[in-house]
């Protein structure tokens, strides 16, 4: 994993500084614990409320595990780039990957009122993501997915 944390100022040069965590990770689920650790450290240091820390952790977990588990079929190593930005405008998360096209904005909702016997163990990640973040945008440009979340 490669990464950097960069404080920066708003375009107007105001004192309302935000801070970014930029990471490039491999398509390996073993990367997720370190990503969460770095993100949580940044958010807690910035005094972010526990619910937003939880929501960010959930977003990282669901988005990245989805890309890593379902985005690639070639067995090759790939890189996933993410930027977590926290500051006056709240929390933003951007994720860019070269996996297969997947738009979480338009993905169908799971059936939540099924009896236990008919429930699947999986399929809840995107539903949880939608419930915990306030805005999701997705774009496919060339062979890359671009996901932007506001928390």
């Amino acid at each position: 994993m490669n990464g950097a944390r960069m404080p920066s100022r708003t375009p107007a040069g105001e004192t309302n500084m935000h801070e970014e965590l930029r990471l490039t990770i491999r398509n390996d689920l073993g990367e997720l614990a370190r990503v969460n650790e770095l993100a949580t450290e940044l958010l807690e240091r910035r005094g972010v409320a526990p619910r937003a820390v939880y929501a960010t952790s959930l977003a990282l977990e669901e988005v990245l595990s989805n890309v890593i588990r379902h985005g690639y079929q070639d067995g090759d190593a790939h890189e996933i780039a993410l930027v977590l930005r926290v500051g006056g405008g709240g929390i933003e998360l951007q994720v860019e990957d070269d996996g297969r096209e997947f738009d979480p904005v338009t993905a169908p909702e799971p059936e939540l009122d099924l009896p236990l016997a008919e429930r699947r163990a999986g399929g809840l990640g995107i539903h949880l993501l939608r419930a915990f973040v306030s805005e999701i945008r997705y774009e496919r440009l060339g062979d890359r997915n671009f996901l932007w979340l506001r928390i």
Binding site: E61, R120, A121, L124, L128, A131, F132
Partner: protein, 112 residues
């Protein structure tokens, strides 16, 4: 990540999970959790009071165990999730099929 067996006798299984039920956490305890909770069809209590995070994979692990128990005629109850963990569970609709109790006495009442 930790799984403690609080009680395991002829009638009840009571386990407590501690830590994050994320991808890494689920991978580290799933086998033991499913073995402890589903090997015999007994009423099962799962204490979540020391779980700080649950994602979709963690919810899936609970669904797998509860389904297995239900097929054999046994119930599962969750105990004491934090507000945020409870919110994730309720968002998934899991509370409609696996009851949530605030503490052990209330859980035992739900299992009767």
């Amino acid at each position: 990540m930790r799984l403690d067996i609080i009680r395991s006798d002829d009638t009840i299984t009571h386990v407590a999970i501690q830590g994050r039920l994320d991808v890494q956490g689920v991978n580290s305890i799933q086998y033991e959790f499913l073995t402890q909770t589903t090997l015999l069809p007994k009423a099962t209590m799962v204490d979540l009071s020391k779980v700080s995070f649950i994602g979709s994979l963690g919810i899936g692990m609970l669904v797998s165990a509860a389904k297995h128990l239900e097929r054999k005629g046994a119930k599962m109850v969750l105990i004491g999730p934090s507000n945020l963990v409870r919110q994730a569970i309720e968002t998934s609709g899991l509370h409609n099929v696996i009851p949530i109790a605030s503490e052990e006495t209330a859980a035992l009442a739900l299992l009767r």
